[in-house]
Symmetry: C2
Subunit: 189 residues, 2 copies
């Protein structure tokens, strides 16, 4: 289990199609899919970042249903996944929360589909994660991706996941699954 890695799915600040900074809506799908993948790869925490109190309440309603509500008894595997979730208003809050848990400074790893000059490779980050004393927060953007200000705040930027050609429109859920496998997966199989 990788205890020094957490993920944050960011709904603000992100770009829309016209490169305006917006708050996107939290989707039920992102809640469940990313939680199941995060749990499968042993992550410590899955932060859902949204400044909207209504959206925060919606996420808490869903996780409570699967935790203490009817869903927990019906599907305990789902409960184990959703118990990783914590909803917070900003990325800074997620860093602070993870830092308190870990008692060490957390480094932010920004991700996106566009190549950046100073990006670290998956291989390099996989090696860094072996040092269990150092906590990292991987941040994923919704909509058309993380705002530049988050790349500026991040200590590291991860190389994009490339497919087999020029077309690169992976859903964030699929990109996250591939990242986890490259960083933490068991390649013996």
């Amino acid at each position: 289990m990788c205890m020094n890695l957490a993920v944050a799915l960011v709904h603000y600040p992100v770009y829309n199609k016209n490169r305006e900074i917006v708050t996107t809506a939290v989707t039920n799908l992102d809640i469940h899919d990313i939680a199941r993948t995060a749990r499968t790869y042993g992550l410590q925490r899955y932060y859902i970042v949204t400044p909207s109190p209504e959206q925060q309440a919606m996420v808490n309603r869903i996780t409570t249903h699967w935790d203490t509500g009817w869903g927990g008894g019906y599907n305990p595997d789902r409960k184990a996944a959703l118990s990783l979730i914590k909803v917070l208003p900003t990325v800074a809050d997620a860093v602070k929360d993870f830092q308190q848990k870990f008692c060490k400074p957390v480094e932010i790893i920004a991700t996106g589909a566009k190549p950046k000059d100073d990006a670290v490779s998956f291989r390099t980050l996989r090696q860094k994660l072996q040092d269990q004393d150092k906590p990292y927060l991987l941040i994923l953007g919704t909509g058309w991706g993380l705002a530049d200000q988050l790349f500026e705040k991040a200590e590291l930027t991860l190389a994009p996941v490339n497919g087999a050609g020029d077309y690169n429109h992976l859903p964030v859920r699929a990109a996250f699954a591939i990242m986890m496998d490259r960083l933490l997966g068991d390649f013996r199989s």
Copy 2:
């Protein structure tokens, strides 16, 4: 682009929670997410296998909307992904369709979360796929996985995707993304 690989998402025959053979419902999410990942990794075709005429009509309504309807102009990337989709009643129909296109016998690769003694590794299958003359159809189960009869029909069974511990409840969409990356991904990054 990998022209010798296609994927089929199977809604019958698959198991439910009580290991009964059922027909699952096609979800909008599986249509979109798997199409986008398949397109990103250069697959030839994405078959949606369901014997239900109502479900077949539903899929065709969605793909038509994004192809010739309003959606095609609004989001051409989505159109490129969904154009890979073909709905057919059985896995045998999908094999036959891909065979006609390729004019060579198609081998079926079955997938699932449980380990099997005769499973091929990702590395072995990655090498096999380099032989562009040989077509393969990767079949994915919905619900609680592909019925045993499909494993018996398949020429190959692929090793399961393992996470970092005992918990393994990846969504089929996430497992497919990881498979594509392991089989066709560009690991130089």
